[in-house]
């Protein structure tokens, strides 16, 4: 027992090591994401661009194309991928903890379906009904609609799932299923009325892509995803208590109702902001927390920040694959994550069934 006074607890070491590893992985993935891709950057070009960015030497004119590819196209895209992936990972980990179910996904709280409905509405009606607004908002209209739609659906779900001021997790889950079905049906109705070009836009939006990433989106997403992600990480202790159940979390000193509302709200903001700019990207929020739990246990002090780091790294790499595999064409990134995620999910189910 006295040895424990001298040796730091193993769990603390493990958390620090895993998180440091996750950070290195994220940085490595981002570096790869910036440097690699269909447009080849020569080492000389890279050196020249870096020297220019660091203010060491002015950019020689023959490397202008390289500078544009790196700075204008790839860097914002990689940053967006890292942020969106981090939000999806942290939100997934928090929702799995909240619902006490390792198969929970951020989509469960209605945010993706609501965002999709609003985005499809924006695509179908954008030019006609919202003509004036669309003109003023320009490229921001679709993300704004999707963000508000996602938050609205989650709000509706939380309202429906709460009876007499008490939000039962099972009721919340069922309300989520109902809201998802409703949003899905309304989306179907809209698609039914859409013309061919709109259907094509809708299809690509729902498959998810980071191709539209631009610098001016980065600070917006950094705030809308970064802050809720940090907020979710701060909920590690109450979510740990919730591993035992709601009554037990209260016995251990936590206000469970407030915790549920806070976790759902933060997750909804983080996911809605991601969906708004990149469309539907599945499986990151499901797979990443799971991998961490399998490898390093269920403590949220590790799983929450770890899922943010690993989620970011995974989406950066998935996006790299999406734009490299079929170059010069681009695969939708949601297709890549689902191609990786679906087999993993099936393996998980079978493993669970066998256990």
């Amino acid at each position: 027992m006295h040895i424990s006074r001298i040796a730091p607890p193993a769990a603390r070491d493990l958390t620090a090591v895993v998180l440091a590893g996750g950070a290195v992985l994220l940085l490595a993935a981002m570096a790869a994401g910036v440097l690699l891709g269909p447009a080849r950057i020569s080492p000389g070009g890279l050196g020249a661009v870096l020297a220019d960015w660091l203010g060491l030497a002015p950019l020689p004119p023959e490397f202008r194309r390289d500078a544009a590819v790196l700075g204008v196209i790839r860097l914002p895209r990689v940053l967006m991928a890292a942020l969106v992936g981090a939000g999806l990972g942290a939100a997934g980990a928090a929702m799995q903890g909240l619902f006490r179910n390792s198969l929970a996904d951020p989509g469960l709280i209605g945010v993706s379906a609501g965002a999709a409905l609003a985005a499809v509405a924006a695509i179908v009606f954008g030019a006609t009904v919202f003509g004036v607004a669309a003109g003023a908002l320009g490229l921001w209209m679709l993300p704004l609609a999707a963000f508000l739609g996602g938050l609205g659906a989650t709000l509706l779900m939380a309202r429906l799932g709460s009876i007499g001021g008490v939000t039962g997790v099972a009721t919340l889950l069922l309300a989520g299923v109902a809201v998802n079905a409703l949003a899905g049906a309304l989306t179907g109705l809209l698609i039914f009325t859409a013309d061919d070009r709109q259907v094509r836009d809708i299809t690509f939006w729902t498959l998810g892509s980071l191709a539209g990433s631009r610098w001016e989106q980065v600070p917006v997403v950094a705030v809308l995803i970064g802050l809720p992600t940090l907020g979710l990480i701060a909920l590690a202790r109450p979510l740990d208590a919730l591993l035992l159940g709601e009554a037990e979390a209260f016995h251990l000193g936590h206000r469970v109702e407030a915790l549920k509302h806070l976790a759902v709200t933060l997750a909804a903001i983080a996911v809605a902001a991601g969906v708004a700019f990149t469309g539907l990207i599945g499986f990151v929020g499901l797979v990443v927390p799971h991998l961490l739990r399998l490898g390093f246990g269920s403590g949220h002090r590790l799983v929450l920040p770890g899922s943010a780091l690993l989620g970011g790294a995974l989406l950066v790499l998935a996006d790299l694959a999406a734009r490299s595999l079929a170059a010069p064409a681009e695969l939708p990134v949601g297709v890549v994550t689902a191609l990786l995620g679906a087999p993993f999910f099936l393996w998980l189910l079978r493993r669970k069934a066998a256990a």
């Binding site: 027992m1 035992l244 206000r255």
Partner: protein, 263 residues
């Protein structure tokens, strides 16, 4: 220290508890006994602060339980519920460590927490299970791991503190039942207030300083075991003759004539 005054609770148009008043005192083991559906668990949940009473007040040291911050409450009372599960695979030791959540301000465990966890593991006789995955433990082993969690939670609590247990012996073997009951007595001697729901009346007679006997949501007796577990009273409540055996407590007469027909 924890007191209920005129407690009432209704659910689905049915009265679960009616006008129950009782006080849990420091240094005693108070047993809640009574037939299925008598309101024992509901009463325990109200006294834990988990359920708000429909009528009356429940208080800790004179202050309504709902006025206590959950964290402050968690530093004064621990609860061992029935059938506690863990959502994800977790080492038994990590489950016990959750009992320290109300205590550390910073995320990592301190040496103090480590000591409390080790002591609780030993006291609940689960030190040898510390490295096992909670999901692979038997029902009785899990029960003891959660007991250790509750003990770890109260380590270092300002006295008086309370431990509330709902049928803690339910899935334990005879040996571990006996050691749990002896542990409850030891804890009470150290000044802890122990409230425990028990079905086995011999266990109740063995461990209790006082017994509160509930029937259909009403408190019909509260006092030393020889009073509250009087055979005549038990026969009325359970519809079954009992005999009191010295040193063993009330024994249900399963073979007695008419024993299995109430009245």
């Amino acid at each position: 220290m924890i007191a209920g005054q005129g407690l009432g609770l209704r659910a689905g148009g049915r009265a679960l508890l009616t006008d129950v008043s009782l006080e849990l005192r420091p240094g005693e083991v108070l047993v809640l006994a009574g037939p299925n559906g008598a309101g024992k668990s509901s009463l325990l949940k109200i006294l834990a602060g988990e359920t708000k009473p429909g009528a009356g007040t429940a208080s800790l040291e004179g202050r309504s339980l709902s006025a206590w911050h959950p964290r402050a409450l968690a530093r004064r009372r621990a609860v061992l519920g029935q059938h506690v599960g863990v959502a994800f695979p977790m080492q038994a030791r990590a489950v016990v460590a959750l009992g320290r959540l109300p205590w550390h301000g910073e995320p990592a465990q301190t040496a103090r927490d480590q000591d409390a966890i080790a002591a609780a593991l030993a006291e609940a006789d689960v030190a040898h299970l510390a490295g096992r995955d909670h999901a692979t433990l038997s029902g009785g082993e899990r029960q003891r791991v959660h007991l250790a969690r509750a003990l770890a939670q109260l380590d270092g609590a300002a006295m008086p503190a309370a431990l509330l247990l709902d049928e803690p012996t339910a899935s334990l073997d005879a040996g571990h039942r006996a050691s749990l009951l002896r542990l409850l007595k030891r804890l009470a001697r150290r000044g802890l207030a122990v409230l425990v729901v028990l079905h086995d009346l011999q266990e109740a007679a063995f461990v209790a300083d006082r017994v509160a006997l509930l029937e259909k949501g009403r408190l019909i007796a509260c006092g030393p075991p020889e009073q509250a577990l009087h055979p005549a009273l038990l026969q009325r409540v359970y519809g079954l003759p009992f005999r009191h055996l010295p040193g063993l407590g009330p024994i249900p007469m399963l073979g007695a004539e008419g024993a299995l027909t109430p009245g």
